[in-house]
Amino acid sequence: MRWSVTRATSAALFAILTMVPAAEAGTIVGRATYRGTPPQPRRIHMTADPECDRLNPDGVSGQTVVVAPDGSLAGVVLSIKEGLDADLKYLVPATAAVLDQHRCMFSPHVLGIRVGQVLEIKNSDATMHSVHAAPASGNAFNVAMPMLDQVIKKKFDSREVAVRVKCDVHPWMSAYVAVVEHPFFAVSGSDGSYAIENVPPGTYTLEAWHEALGVQTSTSVKVGGDQPTELDFSFGGK
């Protein structure tokens, strides 16, 4: 009972502290794209583990650079880099973010979480996995996950876009966890689109990060008013 009251209070406080009046809050929307001819995705065959091979008999496509036929680029982390009031603190979500080891791949491949937020890492396969991460801030870990439905919980204590997470049992398995100190971030979907909502009015600089294509920083953009602010990022080729 006491626990649920605490949770409810935390949730209310989170809502109060992070919400900006609807009339003032802004949204940043846009799309990440790839210029030119994208690299051919590598085919990953999982013969090194019979269980993974059974789950993916034809192999799977590599997830490093995922580009749709129209050039939309998935897996780009977009976050506000400059312009936020440094004195404002944002409550960390009480709900955990989930990184699943499913069919011998990490799902999702790119994930955004908050500094201090719980990350649940799950093994949904009937084979042995491990989870190995080495954040720049230290506290590297490598944990065995030999059991089906095993869950471990981890937290990251400083901003880092992005921490690479590997399974050392299966060399093709990797994911990236973007750890951000505020709630104003998003990861582009398979259509390349993203939306960062509930942004306080102001002028901001955004950063777009991709695991293989590098980092881009936007020019200053104004947020606020009725219309969302549009900001696109274009990566890659010639």
Partner: protein, 305 residues
């Protein structure tokens, strides 16, 4: 028929050399397949002595297999140490056996700490100590040979002794550079701006020139071992070039192909063989200075020496 205790100790040492060479190949394969951390705990594996199904998954098979071979070699080393202690009275053999027993324990701890502390630095030290352990066993096999004291004296000039010593040191340096290159992976590639590859190639040239020099000065007795040394160096250069070519085409987030795993592993094994051959040559060159027996004690078992 009375067995010769020295011959039996020597044979035990020779088996240890073969075992530790296999261990080096197994360890090299762990690095080639980037499987060093695939079993995240130590001394257990996934919380067990022998995790079920470990043989089916390539990376776990590689790492856990390496641990099993290491355990067998450590046990054999303990047996060898005990036999040397009981049956040998030559100072050098007893010291080498004691050092071997100590190094195998240190090596096991280094391997465990490398896993528990996720340390790349310890992985590199572990790789080099493995090579030194192999060299130590080679030395023990050489000096426990019954003919060690009776073999025909080689014409060892001061220059030759210095050359053989220099060769051993250069090969160890060469191995240290190679181990660094393998563990640092993409960060050590020539275009990454590091000097490691260039130093590795440079010291290879130095090793070759010293071996050629030794070969030129060798008499009929020393010629076969000098030729073997040159042949090992030639094989090592070919394996090194082939390894460079196949690993340069390797994406580091994928499983290594058979060639990508085995060519660099054979390069590591050939490096160990080169170290063993160089050290053997060096020991023979320095033999007169090394024959410093302890006061003879009565051999306790297996007959008198």
């Amino acid at each position: 028929m009375v067995s010769d205790p020295r011959r039996s100790v020597h044979n035990t040492a020779r088996i240890a050399v073969v075992g530790s060479f296999l261990l080096i190949l197994a360890g090299g394969l762990v690095t080639s397949r980037d499987a060093g951390l695939s079993v995240p705990d130590w001394p257990l594996a996934f919380g067990q002595l022998n995790p079920p199904g470990w043989w089916r998954i390539e990376s776990i098979r590689t790492e856990h297999g390496h641990r099993i071979i290491a355990f067998a070699v450590a046990l054999w080393m303990a047996f060898l140490g005990w036999r040397v202690y009981r049956l040998e009275d030559r100072t050098l053999a007893r010291r080498l056996a004691a050092a071997g027993a100590a190094v195998v324990l240190i090596q096991a701890l280094l391997g465990g700490l490398r896993v528990l502390r996720l340390s790349l630095d310890l992985a590199m030290v572990h790789g080099l100590v493995g090579q030194l352990f192999f060299a130590l066993l080679c030395a023990l096999a050489v000096v426990t040979a019954p003919e060690w004291e009776t073999r025909e004296r080689l014409p060892n000039t001061r220059r030759e002794r210095c050359l053989t010593m220099g060769l051993v040191v250069t090969v160890i340096l060469q191995l240290a550079l190679g181990i660094s290159i393998r563990h640092l992976g993409a960060a050590a590639r020539p275009l990454a701006g590091t000097w490691l590859y260039y130093a590795h190639v440079g010291t290879a040239g130095l090793v070759l020139s010293v071996a050629l020099d030794l070969n030129r000065g060798a008499n009929a007795t020393a010629k076969p071992s000098a030729n073997t040394l040159l042949a090992t160096i030639a094989a090592q250069i070919v394996l090194g070039i082939a390894s460079f070519i196949v690993t340069e085409s390797m994406a580091y987030d994928r499983q290594a192909t058979m060639l990508q795993a085995w060519l660099p592993t054979l390069h590591v094994g050939c490096g160990a063989a080169l170290l063993g051959a160089s050290l053997t040559r060096c020991l023979h060159a320095w033999r007169e200075s090394l024959m410093l027996p302890l006061p003879r004690r009565q051999v306790q078992r297996g007959g008198a020496v």
